[in-house]
């Protein structure tokens, strides 16, 4: 089975490990992620002002591409891309006037009808592949490690695009249980990592990382699992800065859920891109 896949900028650079692990895992499950032709930047953050239409053109154009290439759904890995594309899609379908205007902004593209479904890989794994089927393919026992699932913001909020309950999500836990790993009840799994403030307000991100990673460790986690390249960066790379400020701080690996899936399903570790992880998840790599 083929599914159109929208990568977004970071999946092609810092988060190549997210992409390659996802590709490997999906291949193993019998699915091919087909990269969308001529995709463009989603805009990263969804524009929230009532009079700002132009920033919705970019995400919609990506959905037009899906149509042009004969698809009716597109999957993303990056939570930010997911959120931006999906919010733009929801908006497009709610406002006829805006819809016509956006279409008139398109040049050579066909008119968009609002009929492409924007999915995140987690929901594809649940609804298309099925957690049961994934569980059947598990070859490596991982019951010795405890995982802190971390959702971040953009898969759960706002409610119009949420893939799960904003306060008590469970989709990642369900996936992890299907893989045979134990999860901790992690209250900070839906707390913001500080996101792009990592550029201009590092202090904020350091505070967030200190708290989020600290609590995960307190609660006994061996590794944090994320679904967003920016969360991953903030929670992992910024640990170095945290350590500078709080010397007693102990580091914790932060990986993508697809990497953990890869390990469980028996993808050779070297194909899961762990070289891009700054803090190596030794517990997984030494299996």
């Amino acid at each position: 089975m083929k599914i159109f896949y929208y990568p977004g900028c970071t999946l092609k650079t810092q988060a190549r490990n997210f992409e390659c692990s996802a590709m490997e895992v999906m291949k193993l499950l019998g699915y091919e992620l087909v990269e969308l032709n001529r995709w463009n930047c989603c805009g990263t953050v969804y524009s929230l002002a009532s009079d700002d239409l132009i920033h919705k053109v970019a995400p919609i154009r990506n959905l037009v591409r899906v149509k042009e290439q004969g698809g009716d759904k597109v999957v993303t890995l990056c939570a930010m891309c997911y959120n931006t594309l999906k919010q733009a899609n929801v908006f497009f379908n709610s406002d006829q006037e805006a819809r016509d205007k956006i279409n008139s902004f398109m040049d050579t593209e066909i008119d968009y009808e609002g009929d492409v479904e924007v999915l995140h890989l987690l929901t594809v794994l649940r609804d298309e592949v099925g957690f049961d089927n994934i569980s059947k393919k598990v070859v490596r026992k991982l019951n010795h490690i405890k995982v802190a699932p971390y959702y971040g913001c953009l898969l759960l909020r706002p409610s119009t695009v949420a893939i799960d309950d904003a306060e008590n999500p469970s989709i990642m836990e369900e996936l992890l249980h299907a893989l045979g790993v134990e999860t901790i009840d992690f209250p900070y799994r839906n707390e913001c990592c500080g996101t792009y403030n990592t550029v201009s307000a590092v202090d904020l991100v350091i505070d967030r990382t200190y708290r989020i990673v600290g609590l995960a460790r307190n609660l006994g986690a061996d590794v944090i699992v994320t679904s967003c390249p920016l969360c991953q960066f903030n929670l992992e790379v910024r640990q170095k800065d945290v350590k500078e400020r709080f010397p007693e701080f102990e580091q914790l690996p932060v990986i993508y859920f697809t990497q953990l899936m890869g390990v469980a399903l028996g993808v050779p570790t070297e194909r899961l891109g762990f070289e891009l992880n700054h803090i190596k998840p030794k517990v997984l790599m030494e299996l």
Partner: protein, 122 residues
């Protein structure tokens, strides 16, 4: 000013009864100079300068935590965006792109940079 914010954000700021739940749950509140509920308060009582000059609107990372919990259904994320835009549309940048160190530029992910520019520069 409040009307402009209401127009841009499509949120009824008069509905806010200042319970503070937005501020209580805000992950970024520690770095803010005024609290999210106070942003609305200052607009309600007609002190827009407090809001336009605050750091809070720039620290807000659009995580939507306040929005999903607000008992009065105010999407504060959009309110913050509206106020940012009022500033940015005067061509006032919050950050100077030139001043971002090479170090940062090469280390942070692309999405962080694009998002930062989108949110903090005109």
């Amino acid at each position: 000013m409040i009307n402009k914010v209401i127009e841009l954000s499509e949120q009824n700021l008069y509905a806010c009864y200042q319970c503070g739940k937005c501020s209580a749950g805000c992950p970024s509140v520690k770095l803010m100079d005024i609290m999210p509920n106070q942003v609305i308060r200052y607009l309600q009582i007609g002190k827009p300068d407090k809001v336009l000059q605050c750091k809070t609107i720039w620290i807000c990372a659009s995580c939507y935590t306040c929005s999903v919990r607000c008992p009065r259904g105010i999407d504060l994320t959009r309110v913050m965006e509206a106020i940012r835009l009022i500033q940015l549309r005067k061509n006032i940048d919050y950050i100077k792109v030139r001043e971002i160190s090479e170090d940062v530029l090469v280390s942070v992910p692309q999405i962080a940079l694009v998002a930062e520019f989108r949110k903090h520069t005109a």
